[in-house]
Point group: C2
Chain length 223, copies 2
């Protein structure tokens, strides 16, 4: 049994051309005459179309602004790393010893790129329908609730992405107060950025208060 | 014969579902319960994949950085507007009277979006292969020489895109000098941005000198 047979089982797809899966799993650090970057280029476009069409069909009434937003929340390094981890892709990739010591098998960029490359390889060998079937199954497994609300409500993630892009730092959340009886507790959370409080909010749970504070912070920062 | 039959002939594709082509041709200004924005969202991803795969296959030895660069030079508003004009798409789009008076039928954004929507509609009805066949024929017709050299050599366009993005202005080219006998003329061109010279170059023709100056300017601005 080859090294990657278990991966093929998990994907529910067996490559005819084994060179394709080997290439998809080969990180450039491995110093072979090939690596997975070209397949990643292809897979990226395949996934963009597959997810775009999936949303186009699922949300018949949503305009293209909403569709783009939801797609961006699924088709990104974080989303693909999640899928790569779910299929243990890190176990199967070929990387250099140096990359290995550098925790390469668990690096988001490496995992996400390898996932795109694997989908690119399936597309090349078996076509769009097969690639669609496999990637939609994995996306639905990792995002059990793809809907407008749950995707657009993740304000903490949106805030983190914004502050990392604009300030190069991650916001922190601080519990300022909790009060009330157990069945009706209230939490007050502050979001701070680089030591400065940018928003506060109350909520029924810490998570709820954090999301609300992140939402207010997002508005503030976008002003 | 319907309004858009000539367009169907030009595309070499006849829609079964006429509502699809009507939707693809309807600009949002036309105030119908539908418009071409959702199809444009889909067509954009379809074209990204089609052109990506075309380049992946055509340039077997090129790494993904080069492929991305060439794709970006083909898949953009300018490129799609060129194709839209070649098929006279502006004649067939449905726009409001106000947009009509505003020269809407010749607006790059409107033409480019309508082209993407038409490809999205063909993809939906007839699948990826048909969409590929039609769009590659049009792309090859409008870009007779898709190769690394001729695409990457268009430094003037790259410079203009950069300065518009970063400074909101377009560079200008000035002939500083021309010398030598007719069969061996030499031209000196300066690129200026907002009145300030950012690069100079010599060339065998004005066009050649402009390209060289643009290339130097690009390097300067990217520093």
């Amino acid at each position: 049994m080859s090294h990657y047979s278990k991966l093929e089982n998990r994907l529910n797809y067996t490559f005819e051309n084994k060179q394709l899966i080997i290439e998809a799993l080969t990180h450039k650090s491995y110093k072979k005459p090939y690596n997975n970057e070209r397949l990643e280029f292809l897979g990226d476009a395949v996934l963009d179309l597959i997810v775009g069409e999936y949303l186009f069909t699922k949300f018949e009434k949503s305009d293209e602004g909403i569709l783009s937003k939801i797609r961006a929340s699924l088709v990104n390094e974080r989303g693909f790393t999640m899928i790569a981890r779910a299929i243990n892709l890190g176990e199967y990739i070929y990387i250099s010893a140096a990359e290995e010591n550098n925790n390469g098998r668990d690096k988001p960029s490496l995992l996400s790129n390898a996932f795109e490359a694997v989908i690119g390889a399936i597309y090349l060998e078996a076509g769009l329908e097969k690639a669609r079937q496999i990637s939609i199954a994995l996306i639905e497994e990792c995002h059990p609730k793809i809907d407008l609300d749950s995707l657009s409500k993740d304000f903490k993630t949106a805030l983190q992405e914004l502050t990392q892009a604009t300030h190069g730092i991650t916001p922190t959340y601080e519990l300022l107060d909790s009060s009330g009886p157990d069945h009706k507790k209230e939490f007050v959370i502050a979001v701070t950025l680089d030591g400065k409080t940018i928003a506060k909010a109350k909520g029924r749970s810490k998570k709820d208060a954090q999301q609300k504070a992140a939402q207010i912070a997002l508005k503030e920062l976008k002003k």
